[in-house]
């Protein structure tokens, strides 16, 4: 299987001598559904920024689809964290059209094709009827779908999501993960979250990050989770972790 993302020995941060992420090795194969869990301040967002090419690492190399992150930016769809307090005057359609900026180019208006693509992606996420609405009038779950539609409008091969379920209720989370599973059919998905309870059965692989990457693979040892969180594994195992991982953890416990 070809790889979508590869990080080798990556360290990065905002202030010298204080790396937020340190010596990260990570390979994400194409069509993987990877969830990276870690505590707040553990470097989840920093890791995403490095993959997006928004932050240059101090050490190590990163390739996205075999090229540099900057070069292959158009292949990545990014879904940032929801900003809770937001009074920005913008319609849903305008938000989704942002995903077509690269396609439209500077000094030009969005073409009919750009608008059609935006409409199509809104419809795909079942929020097509909201196109003309004020973004601020939407619920958290609806906003989340609009931001995903925006990311998809650029026709990405990889979808990166930062804390996508932080502000939505349990039922919305469920339908949200079903949606991601559907997208996962033809797309690599990387999701970061601090909420272990949000890890769904659709997730194929799990990694833990807390400055360093604790574990990566389709199993998750209780030890690495405990290290990342400083809490016993039992607390986490009630949160809907995929069966095979739970099974594995039980084996290691026995």
């Amino acid at each position: 299987m070809k790889e979508a993302i590869r990080l080798q020995g990556v360290s990065a941060g905002y202030r010298r001598g204080n790396p937020i992420i340190h010596d990260i090795d990570l390979t994400v194969p194409k069509n993987d559904f990877l969830t990276i869990i870690g505590p707040n301040g553990g470097g989840k967002t920093t890791l995403l920024k490095v993959i997006l090419g928004l932050l240059t690492p101090w050490e190590g190399t990163i390739t996205v689809l075999g090229g540099s992150p900057e070069k292959n930016r158009s292949a990545i769809g990014y879904v940032p964290q929801l900003i809770p307090d937001d009074s920005f005057p913008i319609t849903v359609m305008d938000v989704v059209l942002m995903g077509r900026l690269r396609n439209a180019g500077l000094l030009r208006r969005f073409s009919l094709k750009d608008r059609k693509s935006a409409e199509m992606n809104l419809a795909r996420l079942h929020v097509g009827n909201l196109a003309g609405d004020d973004m601020n009038s939407l619920s958290g779950g609806q906003k989340q779908r609009v931001l995903i539609a925006r990311a998809l409008a650029g026709k990405p091969q990889i979808l990166l999501l930062d804390e996508p379920v932080a502000s939505v209720d349990h039922d919305t989370q469920k339908s949200f993960f079903n949606l991601l599973a559907e997208l996962n059919n033809d797309m690599t998905i990387v999701l970061v979250t601090h909420d272990v309870g949000a890890v769904s059965a659709h997730v194929k692989t799990i990694a833990c990050i807390n400055r360093t990457l604790m574990s990566h693979g389709d199993t998750l040892s209780s030890e690495s989770v405990a290290k990342a969180y400083g809490c016993p594994f039992e607390l986490i195992s009630h949160g809907g972790i995929p069966h095979r991982i739970l099974g594995n953890a039980k084996e290691s416990e026995s």
Partner: protein
């Protein structure tokens, strides 16, 4: 008021008020949605240093103010590409340093303080033909830039990181925005004075933001509101023999308070 329009100075005041409203509404909207009204204030005050230097060296105060405002905006653009906390400090330092430099230069130049007062508190009834040219030229530049790069300005204001991922030159757009803000601040100084520029760049846009759901509608409504405040303030000031800049600001502030109440009532919240 109608007969007052027979005077050239009154005609000039009306023309500049209307022209400035366009710049004020568009740039004020961008300042407001980017939450940068403190920045506008600090650019306006930094330009006072340029005014002082112009009086001391004997060149046009408008040029002095413009140069300092643009230099200040450029300085903030460079500093603010780094940390947020540093931007805040840089703006505060620039705000006060501009005023201090201006005071020293003006003392050294021996300028009569009435000139100074007109820059601090506005001189709408003393605008010249060159002020009208400046206002018209600035409106044209702003309208061209905003219509040409509207989707980029919208994207950078709403979600800068995402816009960068889409290949938008966010630093360039931001720099352009800061420079246009500086030029607008210099223009508005003629009307309300540099001390009150911050109000004209934030109040009309803030009111417009309560009643509109998209950026361009907010710009249009803010421009209309600014024009209403300017003309109503000018009329009222003429009738009551009060300084126009101050009356304009008081009218705007009153309208803002009323809008806040209307918004609260509409949203069903307790007052």
């Amino acid at each position: 008021m109608i007969d007052a329009l027979g005077y050239t100075f009154m005609q000039n005041a009306v023309i500049v008020s209307l022209l400035a409203s366009i710049a004020c509404g568009i740039i004020g909207t961008l300042v407001t949605v980017n939450r940068m009204s403190a920045l506008a204030g600090s650019i306006a005050h930094a330009s006072f240093g340029g005014l002082g230097l112009a009086y001391l060296a004997g060149f046009s105060p408008l040029i002095g103010a413009t140069c300092f405002a643009v230099a200040g905006a450029a300085g903030i653009a460079v500093i603010s590409s780094g940390k947020r906390a540093r931007t805040d400090t840089a703006m505060a330092a620039m705000w006060a340093t501009g005023m201090a430099a201006g005071l020293v230069f003006i003392k050294l130049s021996g300028t009569y303080s009435a000139d100074l007062m007109s820059w601090l508190f506005g001189s709408l009834l003393a605008v010249s033909a060159s002020d009208i040219t400046f206002a018209a030229a600035l409106d044209i530049v702003i309208l061209l830039v905003i219509t040409g790069l509207y989707k980029e300005f919208l994207a950078v204001s709403f979600d800068r990181e995402f816009s960068m991922l889409q290949g938008v030159p966010a630093h360039f757009i931001r720099g352009l925005f800061l420079i246009l803000t500086a030029l607008t601040a210099v223009l508005l100084m003629k009307i309300t004075g540099l001390i009150m520029v911050i109000a004209m760049l934030s109040i009309p846009a803030a009111i417009a933001g309560m009643f509109t759901g998209s950026l361009w509608k907010m710009m249009v409504l803010a421009s209309i509101l600014a024009a209403v405040f300017n003309l109503a303030g000018l009329t009222l000031a003429w009738m009551l023999d009060l300084p126009p800049g101050a009356v304009i600001i008081l009218l705007a502030a009153f309208a803002y308070a009323v809008s806040l109440i209307i918004e609260r009532v509409k949203s069903g919240a307790a007052l």
